[in-house]
């Protein structure tokens, strides 16, 4: 399979309150690959995610998805990814189903695909009886499930997932893992952050390790296994 990069981060630099959080970060995520972004607490994993989503302003560097530059065509760029944050970002004004409707319209998801996916995902994530509830009436795990379904509704080239298994129960976690692999096989690229090293082994094809805001190593996941065994992580 010929690999072509979907996400390209080049020389990305982020400064928050006069502190360099990311320093010359460069890496790529190839089409149909799952890349795990790993590193210690405070290494800059979530910052990378926020920079890719455009929530954080860059001090330098470029980010593009499918060749669409974040700085040059932001509105089109946003159609290239969907994001599952570590903490659910649901609106208090909308019920779970209404959130799905917002995603449907925002990503222009056809009706038949939307209904089909809602049925399948809500059933699998055991959210069927919570569809008409407001976020505050749900547990954190349920909110996380709702947010996960939102991000899985559109067919986008890149899925960004910050700590995907945080807050999910075992069954939901296993189902999400299966879904991510299916999406990958269909050609979706996935960038995820996780602290769970066994998930990196089971799920990821590639890894990027961050250390103090810099990329310390990157490669295929087998190389990560060797790093792990040497205790270098």
């Amino acid at each position: 399979m010929s690999l072509h990069p979907v996400l390209q981060i080049h020389d990305c630099h982020i400064i928050i309150r006069d502190q360099s959080i990311l320093k010359q970060v460069s890496f790529e995520v190839d089409k149909g690959r799952i890349t795990a972004l790993v590193g210690h607490n405070g290494a800059g994993k979530s910052t990378v995610m926020k920079a890719v989503t455009g929530s954080l302003e860059k001090a330098g560097g470029t980010i593009s998805i499918n060749g669409i530059n974040q700085d040059q065509n932001f509105s089109e760029y946003k159609y290239q990814f969907s994001y599952i944050p570590e903490e659910p970002l649901l609106l208090n004004e909308l019920t779970v189903f209404q959130h799905f409707q917002l995603y449907q319209k925002s990503y222009d998801i056809p009706d038949h695909l939307f209904i089909e996916r809602i049925q399948v995902y809500a059933e699998a994530f055991e959210l069927m009886d919570k569809l008409d509830e407001y976020p505050e009436a749900l547990s954190k795990g349920m909110r996380q499930k709702a947010q996960t379904i939102c991000a899985l509704l559109p067919d986008v080239p890149l899925l960004l997932i910050d700590e995907p298994f945080m807050g999910l129960d075992v069954y939901a976690g296993a189902y999400l893992e299966k879904l991510l692999k299916e999406r990958r096989d269909l050609g979706t690229s996935i960038l995820l952050t996780t602290h769970q090293l066994e998930k990196v082994h089971d799920l990821a094809d590639d890894f990027v390790m961050l250390k103090n805001g810099r990329v310390s190593s990157a490669g295929i996941v087998e190389e990560f296994d060797q790093l792990d065994r040497r205790g270098s992580s």
Binding site: D71, F74, S75, K78, Y79, L89, K105, S106
Partner: protein
């Protein structure tokens, strides 16, 4: 080594104060000059001496007013009591925050913590009241005995109402309201009985004090029963960390999330949970909530518009030539800011693609609705001041056209900013439109000039080199 609850609470409190002090210091250093502060302090002290000297001249007047105030001191307990009842609608009085709640998970009971908070609050108010009395007695010609007497009455009743406010806060709004009404009726009844029995008015205070003491004795063992901890902590967190200077300077206020009042209950009715048949319903829902959340800006904008379109021209009519364009401009800028705010406030709307057409058309309706009020203001001002005539019809048509057109452009401009698009803005044409609008109120045919900027824009867009530059 075991620390007592008091020691731990004092330590946490001192750390909190230190953190707040650091924040205040930072805010001060950024915004004030040390030399200016020193000068202000010196002049402040001098001012106090001058005031004391100046007030001495009014000694006879103050002496007579002191006697008058003494006649109505009996009102002070009632005022303090009613004040605490009304304050219970907003906060519990005792700053039981998340930190205290977390401390209660350690071997420190909530009742002990509550006692310490109450003790410190009572003590601080006592010290504050007497310090204020001392200062007042020194500066003003009121006698020390009189001001200390007032401070003592205030402090006594303040302490007696601390627990009452705490308990009332966790009750429902209706229960609180009925408590306030009952308290008011009780005090009125007490006053009636005292005057009917021809007793000294001070008896009202004494009797109220006894009743409050009884209520406190009743509440004391029940102070932790039925407390809405979630709300208490939420409100107190916002109060404790709402550092006034920083809030003022940054123009932000940390308010506890609003509870669901009558409107919110309606907004969250079963009907509101229904799935949308049409996506515009969803956008309208989000705009309605957003505008409700930002209502203070909405009403202030409309009020300012009313003042500059109706009130100012009522004083001097020619002002309307300037005030009308200014009012339209202010309104549209504010509407555009509120529009962009929606996307900046919600992190979710930051990360998903924005379906421009739907968001724009739905907000346009809300903003246009507000503009109608502005048109009514203008019609009322012209009607009252000049009377309706043919020129007025031309003016109102031009006003409606220009306002709607400019609103459309501004919203498009803001959505471009949100979408980080680089689009050229034609400010000169906009300025011309507003000039025509203002001049058109003076010489009505000129108002037709507001149709020129859109026509020029269409013409410019047809020119290929200009289109590519834009």
């Amino acid at each position: 080594m075991n620390f007592s609850t008091w020691e731990v609470y004092c330590w946490v409190r001192s750390q909190r104060l230190q953190k707040k002090r650091n924040l205040y210091q930072q805010a001060f250093l950024v915004n004030f000059d040390i030399t200016v502060i020193v000068y202000c302090l010196i002049f402040g002290v001098l001012l106090l001496f001058i005031t004391a000297d100046w007030l001495d001249r009014f000694l006879p007047l103050v002496e007579s007013s002191q006697a008058q105030i003494q006649q109505v001191v009996w009102l002070l307990p009632a005022v303090v009591f009613l004040r605490s009842c009304s304050q219970s609608f907003f906060h519990s009085g005792l700053a039981f925050t998340t930190s205290e709640l977390n401390m209660s998970m350690l071997p420190h009971t909530r009742s002990h913590l509550l006692w310490h908070i109450a003790l410190i609050r009572g003590g601080m108010h006592l010290a504050g009241a007497f310090a204020a009395a001392l200062l007042f007695g020194w500066i003003t010609p009121f006698t020390y005995s009189f001001v200390f007497y007032l401070a003592a009455v205030f402090s006594l009743f303040f302490i007696l109402t601390i627990l009452i406010q705490w308990k009332l806060f966790s009750l429902s709004r209706w229960q609180k309201l009925s408590s306030v009404v009952t308290a008011f009726l009780f005090i009125a009844g007490l006053r009636y009985v005292v005057s009917a029995l021809d007793l000294h008015a001070g008896w009202v205070g004494w009797l109220l004090g006894l009743v409050l003491l009884g209520v406190n004795i009743y509440i004391l063992p029940r102070s932790l029963q039925g407390v809405d901890w979630g709300r208490t902590v939420e409100v107190n967190d916002a109060r404790v960390w709402n550092i006034k200077l920083i809030s003022h300077i940054t123009g932000t206020s940390i308010k506890p999330p609003k509870r669901y009042g009558v409107l919110q209950t309606f907004l969250r009715s079963r009907r509101a949970k229904q799935r949308f048949n049409e996506i515009h319903q969803l956008y309208h829902r989000l705009w309605r909530h957003h505008l409700h959340h930002k209502f203070s800006y909405v009403w202030k904008t409309l009020l300012i518009s009313a003042v500059i379109v109706v009130v100012l021209p009522a004083q001097t009519y020619w002002v309307i030539y300037i005030s009308l364009p200014v009012a339209v401009y202010v309104y549209i800028e504010m509407a555009a800011s509120l529009f962009a705010d929606q996307f900046q406030e919600h992190p979710l709307l930051n990360i998903i693609p924005i379906e421009e057409k739907g968001w724009l058309s739905t907000f346009y309706r809300w903003a246009a609705g507000g503009l109608v009020i502005l048109f009514i203001f203008f019609a009322a001002a012209v009607g009252f001041l000049k009377g309706f005539h043919l020129a007025f019809i031309i003016q109102i048509i031009a006003l409606i056209f220009w306002s709607m057109y400019d609103l459309h452009l501004r919203l498009q401009e803001r959505v471009n900013v949100v979408q980080q698009k680089n689009i050229q803005v034609q400010e000169v044409l906009r300025l011309c439109g507003y000039l025509f609008l203002g001049a058109g109120v003076y010489v009505s045919p000129v108002v037709l000039g507001v149709f020129l900027p859109p026509l020029i824009k269409i013409y410019l867009n047809k020119r290929p080199f200009y289109r590519s530059a834009a």
